[in-house]
Symmetry: D2
Subunit: 148 residues, 4 copies
Amino acid sequence: MNKSDIQLAEACTEAMRINDDASKLLGITITETRPHFAIAQMTVIKEMTNGHDICHGGVIFTLADSAFAYASNSTNHTTVASGCSIEFLAPAKIGDTLTSVATKRARSQRTGVYDIDVTNQRNELIAVFRGKSYQIRGQVIPEAGEQS
Amino acid sequence: MNKSDIQLAEACTEAMRINDDASKLLGITITETRPHFAIAQMTVIKEMTNGHDICHGGVIFTLADSAFAYASNSTNHTTVASGCSIEFLAPAKIGDTLTSVATKRARSQRTGVYDIDVTNQRNELIAVFRGKSYQIRGQVIPEAGEQS
Amino acid sequence: MNKSDIQLAEACTEAMRINDDASKLLGITITETRPHFAIAQMTVIKEMTNGHDICHGGVIFTLADSAFAYASNSTNHTTVASGCSIEFLAPAKIGDTLTSVATKRARSQRTGVYDIDVTNQRNELIAVFRGKSYQIRGQVIPEAGEQS
Amino acid sequence: MNKSDIQLAEACTEAMRINDDASKLLGITITETRPHFAIAQMTVIKEMTNGHDICHGGVIFTLADSAFAYASNSTNHTTVASGCSIEFLAPAKIGDTLTSVATKRARSQRTGVYDIDVTNQRNELIAVFRGKSYQIRGQVIPEAGEQS
């Protein structure tokens, strides 16, 4: 992985962030992006809890899905999620800081598989997420000359 | 299904709603609950879009997950999600009203499987979601004497 | 659905069956095919059991996957599985006759989602399976002129 | 991990193998077992191919599911699969030797999550499998005094 690949990944992240209102709504920040790799973080607040008074599974999913999105779009080919699965392993509570790390397991011309782990500030595994990506037409940042 | 079962389901929904801040944050409303069945609705607004300018997959997941939660807690046995999978079939856009309908496929003493379909206002299928539930100790509303 | 669509589906099934050695090995028979629909059946014998003396989950998966394959190839566009999930709901025992019914939930140009239910002779639900299909180049039967 | 844990895992494997007729039918061998870890291997033969003349997805699933079963039963608590998902990444062909490696991602009192990767003899990733386990009553080998 050379420096220009990392710079491209970071530029894709910057471009996507501007319009990523859903991640902003939940206070999700992308702390690192590299080719096919991203880290997203979020602190659980009361607004994210569900009827059982723990973090809503959908919010944990959204955190993992965001890391997945930035990782799968990091080479400047517009990519969407075709499907995802998540296993909830431990509850997340108000005040917990969750970190989700997305790594590539496989990527062909069109489709890819990424694994995203979500841990808390004590490094306990909160959820495991597996995302299937699908590359569509278009680029994340228009000026890039990179081809798949 | 008799009237008291429906009343119990509706009472569970009322009790859970009070603390369900995440659903409130996203404007999710539960429009119907019956035993092992629930309907949740949401209108897509700009705050729910992602870097591709369509509704964030995590928000669609959260809508489906909410219907799943109300359906799986509808008989007053506290139940959490152990895992979920979602397939994204078509994008949802700003202004779309999404409806998610949760139905039971199976439920044993401890575990259950629910299918949740998400459609838009033109009845187009946006996503299919399958949730695995796990019944833990406790009741949604303390006073109920109902047993499974 | 007109008669020629059903005939095409049946012709695709006949062509695939000839080389489907894995289904033959397990005694799986395709009892019906229509466009995006198929039924596969199998009787559990001792050779299909696992170390817990019940039908191996992989064998139940294979039955469901076969119904999925015949349903997703029924319009004469060569289609493969990109991914599948299965939930095991009840064990299957020696002598049980299992029926798996595959129906289409969604299909776009390239990708599709099919649901496959597996039941036993008492109509008890043994497993639910969800298959993601991916259409590749080629036709199941070369002579067909039908286009999607 | 001490020696007696490995010996217990190997003893569980020996006990399960005797009745594992489905794995025998497909020529699956368990080449290694340790606590929450197992490796299963299989060579693809013509009897395992499907109507597209590649290894039937159900057979690949069965190989992965077998590694999962031996890994999740390796501490002598009888454990079954509650659900599994598999992503097919590359086809397997006649003559290929497939290796599936099962590792634990999480395990609580009752439930667990294991990841199983399937590779071929060129170390190419053929499939990724995620299995959810459920611990039921009973032990794999009756004489063991080990408790969870």
